[in-house]
């Protein structure tokens, strides 16, 4: 470890924390329809409503909101599937990429429409520019906006009293795209172009190396896809190597920007939540919980990756004039252990899934943390929206447990938490672990599952467990070392992504509907305060016990066994 590494981490933490209030406040105004920017762009927004035949003043019940969301996302999956299947006939395909085979096309379509961005393909060798732009990039915007819309609907559930509606999905989705994701992506894309990321419709460039070998250098409209890949929490790269590729992430400065973009919407949404319910302190509690869990994970990963020597792994990790020290296998020299550890923790805590280093090459303890981040169900910042609603689910469980302990009916933000809300919360929280553990168990015994692994033993099991975790938690990062482009892996991972997204969103919207219909109860002597450290501690405990311990037996077979086997 170095002081420069810790300084870099401290700078990242300071910048993100500084963004919480301005960005959170801006988003609260956008979804209330009161932003100054909105007044300027309102003609465009209204034009889109007129073309689409939407009345923005007409609100929806939770079920209409959910059905609009489901139909919209189904259309996204079908459209992206179709684009890949006919891409050889589409324009902007200078490399003449052929149609993607059906199982891979389905996996990719589900992956990007669910905000997962799992990639069983290499972008530069599979997709033409049109499929990348009109398919991958568009779905990155729309799936990110979908997550934000769900979170806003749930927040309205807490904020409203005796209401039959939770908002209008089309309005929320459009505003999230138009006022949040699009402006940030445009600025970020220009910044990335300045740093050296290509943005062109030109064909790949063929050069001759000094050894007279022919090398083809892939280029394309990378910067525009890169920006939304990070802001939307999607994470699917233009290139197979993702943010480790020098054309996706050329410098340490672009690396810092990319990490900030990953948290840019998710972290400030806690403040948006606080403002919309009329008590910013509630938002700060959620952010504090996220920050504490993030700091613990990051410190562990950085210490494991920067440890000077690991003789049992045959690594010479001593810092010298020739190397930066620590475990450099699978890491880019321009990032080093500090930024790679930070990026890996950010990307797994956030559900983004972009990578600037190969997680398969991280130390077992780091692999354990990275998997644990995802297994906590996207609550440490999470994806845009999904982190907030995931954390609010744990908050409901926390007040429920506290209610049982003190013998009073649980309340959260003035709403009584009753059996219906708890049923839906448990449904949402249990479907992801059931999906991960069930599918990993099946893949671990079927020859089709084992055939994709590159390694046997605990590390092989870690590869398998990581990839189902990544899919069901809609993260999308890969542990590497697994050949997932087979019908078995493509279809089972697509199922995991589909369930991990929609089997959570539907109960969340049901909770929004139930809460919005309730009256508010004033706080009393029996009310558990939810704006202080006591509740923050309870929430951390609940998240770790309910979210983390569910996976403990599986983790023991993978990274924990690998860790102990090495010593």
């Amino acid at each position: 470890m170095s002081w420069q590494g810790w300084l870099q981490i401290a700078l990242f933490a300071a910048l993100i924390t500084a963004l919480i209030r301005p960005v959170g406040g801006y988003m609260a105004r956008v979804f209330d329809g009161q932003s100054a920017v909105q007044r300027v762009i309102a003609p465009l927004e209204n034009l889109i409503y007129r073309i689409a035949g939407i009345d923005p003043a007409q609100e929806q019940s939770w079920i209409m909101y959910a059905l609009a969301l489901l139909w919209f996302n189904l259309f996204g999956i079908v459209a992206l599937y179709g684009l890949q299947r006919i891409q050889q006939m589409l324009p902007f395909n200078p490399q003449h990429m052929q149609a993607v085979e059906p199982a891979l096309a389905l996996n990719t379509a589900v992956s990007f429409a669910t905000n997962t961005s799992w990639q069983s393909y290499g972008g530069e060798s599979t997709l033409g520019n049109f499929a990348q732009m009109a398919g991958i990039t568009v779905q990155s915007f729309l799936s990110g906006a979908t997550g934000i819309a769900v979170a806003i609907a749930l927040v309205r559930g807490f904020a409203r009293r005796l209401s039959r509606t939770v908002g209008n999905f089309w309005v929320d989705m459009l505003r999230a795209t138009l006022y949040v994701l699009l402006p940030v992506s445009i600025v970020a894309a220009l910044f990335l172009v300045w740093q050296g990321v290509p943005q062109t419709f030109g064909p790949f460039i063929a050069i001759h190396t000094p050894e007279r070998a022919r090398q083809v250098i892939a280029i394309g409209p990378v910067a525009s896809q890169e920006a939304i890949k990070l802001v939307s929490g999607n994470g699917g790269g233009f290139f197979n190597a993702n943010s480790a590729h020098p054309f996706e992430n050329p410098t340490a400065l672009s690396g810092m920007l990319e990490m900030l973009l990953i948290f840019f919407v998710g972290a400030p949404l806690t403040n948006t939540f606080g403002r919309m319910i009329g008590d910013e302190r509630q938002g700060w509690v959620l952010y504090t919980v996220m920050a504490v869990m993030f700091a613990f994970g990051l410190a562990t990963v950085y210490m494991a990756e920067a440890a000077p020597t690991s003789p049992s792994f045959g690594i010479d990790g001593m810092q010298s004039a020739l190397q930066s020290g620590g475990n450099m296998e699978g890491k880019e020299v321009r990032f080093g252990p500090a930024q790679s550890s930070l990026f890996a923790t950010v990307t797994t805590a956030s559900s983004d899934g972009a990578v600037d280093a190969m997680h398969d090459s991280f130390m077992p303890l780091s692999g354990l943390i990275l998997m644990g981040n995802m297994m906590l169900d996207e609550v440490i910042v999470g994806g845009p929206g999904s982190g907030l609603f995931g954390m609010l689910l744990f908050a409901i469980v926390a007040v429920f447990i506290a209610g049982l302990m003190i013998g009073r009916t649980p309340e959260y933000l003035g709403k009584k938490i009753e059996s219906d809300e708890v049923k839906m919360t448990m449904l949402a929280l249990l479907c992801v672990p059931a999906c991960i553990l069930g599918m990993a168990a099946v893949a671990a015994v079927l020859p089709q599952g084992i055939a994709g692994l590159s390694t046997a033993g605990p590390h092989g099991f870690s590869e398998l467990l990581y990839d189902y975790t990544s899919a069901a938690a809609t993260n999308g990062s890969a542990f590497a070392g697994l050949n997932a482009n087979t019908p078995f892996w493509n279809l089972t991972l697509a199922a995991a992504m589909f369930l991990g997204r929609f089997a959570v969103i539907v109960p969340v919207l049901r909770i929004a509907g139930l809460l919005a219909a309730k009256r508010s109860v004033p706080p009393s002597a029996g009310t558990l305060p939810t704006h202080g450290l006591q509740f923050a501690s309870l929430l951390i405990g609940t998240s770790v016990i309910v979210g983390g311990l569910t996976f403990f037996p599986a983790l023991v077979l993978g990274p924990v066994a690998e860790l102990f086997a090495a010593h």
């Binding site: 079920i63 959910a66 059905l67 489901l70 189904l74 999956i77 079908v78 599937y81 059906p102 199982a103 096309a105 389905l106 005796l162 039959r164 209610g403 013998g407 009073r408 009916t409 009584k416 009753e418 059996s419 219906d420 049923k423 839906m424 449904l427 279809l491 199922a495 589909f498 929609f502 089997a503 539907v506 109960p507 049901r510 509907g513 139930l514 919005a516 219909a517 309730k518 009256r519 109860v521 004033p522 009393s524 029996g526």
Partner: protein, 38 residues
């Protein structure tokens, strides 16, 4: 593949129905609670 997608979506609609049937109609007043009405 499209048939597979249609099946998946039918399952999700069934899941929406499950959520509805598990919870019943929205309650505009709270249920009787452990600590009684306020």
């Amino acid at each position: 593949m499209l048939a597979l997608l249609a099946t998946a979506f039918a399952l999700v609609l069934g899941y929406v129905y499950l959520c509805l049937s598990l919870t019943g109609p929205d309650k505009r007043t709270t249920e009787p609670t452990i600590d009684g009405p306020r």
